[in-house]
Symmetry: C2
Subunit: 484 residues, 2 copies
Amino acid sequence: MTIFPLAHHLAEFTKNKVSSRFSTEIPATDGGEVHPNPIYLNYGCPNDGFFPIEKITVHTLDKPFQTKKLSKAEIDNLDLKTIEIVKKELNEDLIYISDGFQYMAPSGHDNLYKFNKSLVTLLNKPNYDDWDLVITLGAADGLNKIFKALINPGDTVLVEEFTFTPSTFNLSQFGGIAVPVPVDFNEKSEGINVSKLENLLDNWSAIHPDLRKPKALYTIPTGQNPIGTTSSLETRKKIYKILEKHDVLIIEDDPYGYIVLNDDFINRNVTRDEYINKYLSKSYLTIDTSGRVLRAETYSKTFAPGSRLGFVVGHKGFIDTITTISSLSTRSPSGISQTILYNVIKQRGGLDSWLDWKIEISKAYSIRKKIFYDYLKASKINEKHFIEVIEPKNGMFLSVKINFELNEKLRKNDIFRNLALLNNKCLKHGVIVILGRVLAVGEEAIRKSNFVRLTLTMADDEDELLEGIKRFASSIEDLFEYGN
Amino acid sequence: MTIFPLAHHLAEFTKNKVSSRFSTEIPATDGGEVHPNPIYLNYGCPNDGFFPIEKITVHTLDKPFQTKKLSKAEIDNLDLKTIEIVKKELNEDLIYISDGFQYMAPSGHDNLYKFNKSLVTLLNKPNYDDWDLVITLGAADGLNKIFKALINPGDTVLVEEFTFTPSTFNLSQFGGIAVPVPVDFNEKSEGINVSKLENLLDNWSAIHPDLRKPKALYTIPTGQNPIGTTSSLETRKKIYKILEKHDVLIIEDDPYGYIVLNDDFINRNVTRDEYINKYLSKSYLTIDTSGRVLRAETYSKTFAPGSRLGFVVGHKGFIDTITTISSLSTRSPSGISQTILYNVIKQRGGLDSWLDWKIEISKAYSIRKKIFYDYLKASKINEKHFIEVIEPKNGMFLSVKINFELNEKLRKNDIFRNLALLNNKCLKHGVIVILGRVLAVGEEAIRKSNFVRLTLTMADDEDELLEGIKRFASSIEDLFEYGN
């Protein structure tokens, strides 16, 4: 069993030594001579001559939606930056077809590993030395492997009472139990209610006499899904201190953190320096001194979901366990994905240009957020207090609370009925939204789930977005006018 | 719990209903009107305008090693067939960046699913109707999910006593126990010894009083790893009948079946028709009437390991369970991999051209096999009976038995000592091989593991291959000359 300070949090199964290594290269036993240039007749790794591809050319974009409205001829005239991926050359900084399309270590390609490491070091360096990361198949895979590494049946994990519920499905398949923590759901909210969290942990055995003390908090601290809130560093420090006191780990899910929603991105050119130091939120890693934070990142929202690439950062002891889990399950992430993603980032300029792309992404989302937010704030339904709009700080969602109690008919219904009525109106007016109850954990949260989550990301353009939010407003008006 | 004829083989956990669906689109409850063109403000799927890629051009090869020895200028002159992957067009037969780089169902992209289905229908159509397939992240992932679907701790699975041992690691992580079945290890072998298999199952409780009756046989029937044997359809029918009698499932691992090793591929042009009807072995699926065969395929050996793509075929009941496992673990395979692989195959001509590529692959491997086999058969070490060469029928490996007992010193050693001595000689002469014991399951098999596995695939060219096999022969000569 791996030994490190918080190793007692590892799941029982990690104590069983399961072989995960196909050890085939046996060193010499006689101390005799060893040929300096051996020929390898051992593995079943096809020679790259068997791969049906010679070269890949990728035409890349400088900013989101650059070509969306253009004709083929107009696109051809753009002189898009192309990057070339060849079979093999002597540049160790790139990933070639010869190695990117080959079998790979379960932790992924070394160049992408190093790039991720430079990203974490620049933006969210852990506050201790013994950290590492492992490439995953995206955030869901990362969280899955974290839960597998930690959870014994019956273990509990704290979750924000409104959250991305599929993560709780991941947890429950290992027999873990998600226990909701109250969050503030208003304009000033930073997410988790700190004093309620403290009270919950201080009085755990009185509040939850039948449940084990939590092993971890699963949290989306930046651009919380669905609320859109982002907690300040000050609040994170308070939460960390409480969790440290109770020896609770932090599983930080951060798919949205790079997407900053702020009018500054619309009104002027935000520099890389400002993006890093003024706008990006700092991970819990940066205040972690004991190695209790496991951070899951993904390339789904900033590159493409089809990449199925992400990584988990944390204490080396946990990362080693997750790497072993990879070697026994998924093996390495797709090498083709890694080859395309890494070369696009690297050949376009590496870390700097990747940050520029994230700034452009933030700008595009800030514009979209402004359309939604401004429209709703100026709307009649807001004026009449039928809705409460929560302005998101990060991410791709905007949540709207609906004050059903302002209508005398709706006031008499339960939450299920009211959300169903609202859904009917949305379907009638032609807008598909996510009902709050789908993103609520536990009965109390469901009772309070009088909200919908709207996404900023799916629409093709600003016209569609505006039409969508108008339809939503009409749905609410219609609902409050008739009360059914 | 899913109900189908062999559902009693599913693992216990499949009976617990674990939510794996993020059901967010709620149908109307009032029977009222529904807008015909809704705007989607629900999911977190980024609009394809957020993907940083406009177009991908892939330069493909007509046959393996086509460009291996050519200069850049010579390659440019070749006029390689290029295929283009654009953001979106109205051709439903292709995978575009807009959908291939997006989130995807856990079972993979529908076009690749259909292609795989046409491949199975053409080559290995199951002998019953209710079959299906699911795209996996390669053979290892497929086998993992099969074992997860079936294995309760303490369940047993029969395996060939010499096999790809990492598959038994996959099994043991679910608490499964691999029980070796004797195989014939000689020139005439078809792999599993049928009468010993029958005896083992007929007298199971006497032979293994402490073990449960096997749930499945895990077998590599075509190009068995490491032996290289391929069983005839006649033998497969006998084995199927025995397993049917004892209600044992068949897990057919077939990474090598498409690689046919036969001089005909060198001496003349093998047609697609011949390849299909004369040279390819038929899967156990083709004789399966009760839905007890689960076949795992992979694109690793015929396209590239970095694709991390494959599929599992079998009864719909099992496939549904595996799809649920995917939705709770890996989610979909890499969409970027699927986009590249599918478009290369499809735009080069689909099924026909894919079969042509496999024929070219078979030719290249047949040439390599002939170099090894002819050299060894004509060698002094063969003449002196120090070795026994097993001519492989499929795949990428050739195994060589070493008759240590012909040397009076070696005769006195145990198998570990002799393999270590052989390994020392190989290291000295500069050839890396895999020692038989690494691929043996159980003590008896290890005692009989007086062989090495040589790979045909890693060498850059025929010169390297010939040099490798010469070094191997020198190692054996050296060993038998000195006996240590």
